[in-house]
């Protein structure tokens, strides 16, 4: 049912122009979708009024049978086809799976890419596919509630996710047909939701330092942020993308296994049962001092103190990461003004107490720690999509792990250091080793350890087409760029000849673009008309956006930045676009004209960028003068 919306003055320019933007928290245990309605963030519940969607997908032979609560019901009866905690596998390789050990009771196979897949009755599925099912479900929920196609989504990721894990998340969204406005770090999203910004600051120089402690089901993040008027600046971030509440469950399950004399190897069914008992025991011990268990005809008692002994080491690991981040940020615990708790696992009193002890502060958790990330993401999505033009909000995030390349002897050479503000670009020069050498290979890794084998392999690049020269005389410049999503891009150029070298990227654990396109086509093949309609609709939206955008830009800057013929040329291509937009039903034709307009307007865009730099600082000097 569509409700009549009445918005605050200035919040929404015109109701029909308002775009559908959502924030999605893709969690290890639960996922959520939120949007901004009448100026405040709300979680979009399912038809039964439930906010959360358990991150569980159940497969049967024909494919996905259900996602969420329904899927979770198959947990014990059909464990091998009921996939949960899949986020722990996202963007990971076979070697990682081995270290995660028996915590993931599935059967794996590997494809050529080195990416593990899970065997189900439906065949082997990749973690990216499983995640895309969860995203698709949430997007569907949002489209139903908002009454239309989504214009874009902000999807949150743990701050400590590396490039491969981020790329995998983005690929999952693409596969689910979602336009990603931004990948946003979870702790940063939480800071936004708390609105720890604008209102409380009177002038530019006032600032506050906060720590966001985020312990979820499978990941841990700590971020130290400096807030000033409208600016969220991440100073340092750290964590462990394979540590969370799940590990507490495993510790308790292990204790149960020993107490019950169940031996070293358990079957999948036993594992699931023990884990479920462990999980409910953990939750009960957050309320009561001890729990009595009746399991396999044995009576057991677990006290809170006894549980603490099982999990304290894990909590200690998170505190060590907090200390390291404070050191990276060059900040002492006593200069932190506020600590915010995020993630379901911070509900445990032991966790809250330990965090409070470390920072010497009573942590803040006035927003439900399960919902806060999605709400922050929704707020950011609303700004990015252009619904809230009055928002004066800026996020400056950092790269969580250093980027480097492999050098002689299996050592890493760092190119971009951890906690560098993104976007960031660095260039490096290489030369050839042999006479007439025309190719070279570069291995890009992410991590802060000395040895390549201790870091995460991101990609291997083959540079080809280097003109044959005497050894040492070719100059190959390799540029690394990390965008605002924390994603890496590499390009290379031979400087002395100006030849652009071709790069072949082989992602170490991911999908290539062709694979994604193929999977997208597969998923639509049984609904070809549907796909065509959707593609056309998408291009129409893009055309509208472009028309609106460029017309506004021309009105504002056309006279000052373009000469007569440039202006006319741009106008003509725009008119053609409008003509096609209204008359064609061929999405390819429309896409082609969008590209023409894009190309024609490139120079204009570049000039506008330069003009806005001047303008931004000019405005400032004026302010200064008035002071």
């Amino acid at each position: 049912m569509a409700l009549l919306q009445i918005s605050e003055p200035g919040q929404s320019p015109q109701p029909h122009q308002r775009k559908n933007a959502v924030g999605i928290d893709l969690g290890t245990t639960n996922s959520l979708v939120a949007t901004v309605r009448s100026g405040s963030e709300v979680i979009l519940p399912d038809e039964q009024g439930r906010d959360l969607l358990p991150s569980v997908v159940h497969y049967e032979s024909e494919g996905v049978s259900c996602v969420g609560y329904e899927a979770a019901e198959h947990n014990s009866s059909d464990p091998l086809n009921t996939l949960s905690s899949i986020k722990r596998l996202l963007g990971r390789g076979v070697a990682d799976i081995k270290t995660l050990g028996d915590s993931l009771p599935y059967e794996f196979t590997t494809d050529d890419g080195g990416m593990p897949k899970i065997n189900t009755v439906h065949g082997a599925v990749s973690p990216i596919q499983v995640s895309s099912e969860i995203l698709r479900k949430l997007a569907g929920r949002a489209e139903l509630t908002l009454g239309g196609m989504l214009d874009g989504a902000v999807i949150t990721v743990p701050a400590y996710f590396d490039d491969a894990q981020r790329q995998a998340t983005k690929d999952a969204a693409t596969l689910a047909g979602i336009k990603v406005l931004r990948l946003l770090n979870e702790p940063t999203a939480a800071a936004i939701a708390y609105g720890l910004d604008a209102e409380e600051f009177d002038d530019e120089s006032q600032q506050r330092t906060i720590a966001v402690y985020d312990l979820g089901g499978g990941t841990f993040d700590i971020s130290i942020l400096r807030l000033s008027k409208g600016v969220f600046e991440v100073l340092a971030t750290g964590g462990n993308s394979a540590l969370g509440g799940d590990d507490f469950d495993h510790a308790i399950a292990n204790w149960l296994r020993t107490e019950l004399d169940m031996g070293e190897t358990l079957n999948v069914y036993e594992q699931r049962v023990l884990l479920e008992v462990a999980k409910s025991t953990k939750e009960e011990l957050s309320i009561n001092n001890q729990v009595e268990l009746d399991i396999l005809d044995t009576r057991l008692v677990l006290t809170r103190d006894c549980m603490h002994q099982l999990i304290d080491d894990l909590i200690e690991q998170t505190l060590t990461a907090c200390k390291r981040s404070m050191r990276d940020a060059n900040i002492k615990a006593d200069s932190i003004d506020e600590v915010v708790l995020v993630g379901g696992s911070t509900r445990m009193p032991r966790v809250a107490a330990k965090v409070s002890e470390l920072f010497g502060l009573e942590p803040k958790c006035t927003i439900d720690p399960d919902l806060v990330v999605a709400m922050g993401a929704a707020k950011q999505a609303d700004v990015l999509v252009g619904n809230n033009s009055t928002a004066d909000m800026l996020l400056l995030d950092v790269i969580p792990l250093s980027l480097g390349i492999e050098t002689m002897g299996g050592l890493t050479e760092k190119i971009i250091h951890r906690n560098t503000t993104i976007p960031v670009a660095k260039a490096q020069e290489f030369t050839t080793f042999k006479d007439g050498q025309t190719a070279m290979s570069i291995h890009v890794v992410q991590g802060d350890r000395e040895l390549v084998s201790d870091c995460r392999s991101l990609a291997r690049f083959e540079l080809r087409g280097i003109p044959p020269m005497v050894a040492g005389s070719a100059k190959i410049q390799v540029s690394y760029q990390v965008d605002a999503d924390g994603l890496l891009n590499v390009s290379a150029r031979e400087l002395s000849s100006g030849v652009e070298s071709r790069i072949e990227v082989k992602p170490s654990y991911g999908l290539s673009d062709t694979e994604i396109t193929q999977m997208l086509q597969d998923s639509f093949s049984h609904a070809r008309d549907d796909m065509r309609l959707r593609a056309l609709r998408e291009q129409q939206v893009e055309a509208d956006r472009m028309l609106e955008d460029l017309r506004a830009a021309i009105e504002k800057d056309g006279q000052s930045l373009l000469d007569e013929s440039e202006l006319q040329c741009l106008q003509v291509t725009l008119d053609e676009l409008k003509q096609l937009r209204d008359n064609t039903d061929d999405h390819r034709q429309l896409a082609a004209q969008i590209e023409v307009v894009g190309k024609t307007s490139e120079e204009f865009a570049a000039r506008r960028m330069d003009a806005s730099i001047k303008q931004a600082l000019a405005g400032l000097s004026l302010d200064d003068a008035l002071k």
């Binding site: 004066d392 600082l617 400032l620």
Partner: protein, 176 residues
């Protein structure tokens, strides 16, 4: 963005060793507010790429000016002098001797009983040394004594590397 601008010009700052950091911070945030890729999330791919490049340049300019070592290097580079690390070494024997003694002191701290206290006092000494070298650089640069400035730059590299090593040991001790 217009590539002919140097990093100081990006922030409308004078090319100089002395920097008003409060002004730098304000200008940095103002520029990023106007040009960050988040302002272009809804634009076409070309504009998005342009915004990423521009924001990356602003970040790099900000970091370069903020950090004393890279600022010193960059100032000399702007004089068309090659300030890359390999080419400049210091021939100041006394300085090198002092550095060796400091390094020995650091090595001895590891495993000693009152390591933390010793580290704190060593850290203070190292900070003072670094500050002294920086002020020497500042006056040499001012007087256009670039050869001497290069020598100070080399010393600065030593001193800052030493501070990094102290911090690393401090981190190690804390994690134990």
């Amino acid at each position: 963005m217009n590539n002919s601008k140097n990093f100081f010009e990006i922030f409308s700052l004078a090319v100089a060793w002395e920097v008003d950091f409060e002004q730098l911070d304000i200008k940095f945030r103002t520029l990023q507010k106007a040009l960050h890729p988040d302002r272009f999330a809804n634009k076409n791919d070309f504009e998005k790429r342009l915004a990423v490049q521009t924001a990356a340049t602003i970040n790099q300019a900000y970091e370069t000016i903020k950090n004393p070592l890279s600022r010193a290097q960059y100032l000399l580079q702007l004089k068309d002098l090659d300030a890359s690390q390999e080419k400049h070494i210091t021939s100041d024997g006394q300085f090198l001797m002092d550095q060796m003694l400091l390094r020995e002191a650091l090595a001895e701290i590891r495993g000693s009983e009152n390591a933390k206290e010793a580290l704190v006092s060593l850290s203070i000494e190292a900070q003072q040394t670094a500050a002294k070298i920086q002020s020497e650089f500042a006056s040499q640069y001012q007087q256009k004594a670039y050869n001497e400035a290069f020598e100070s730059l080399a010393k600065m590299q030593f001193a800052i590397k030493f501070i990094d090593d102290i911090n690393e040991l401090e981190a190690e001790l804390e994690d134990l």
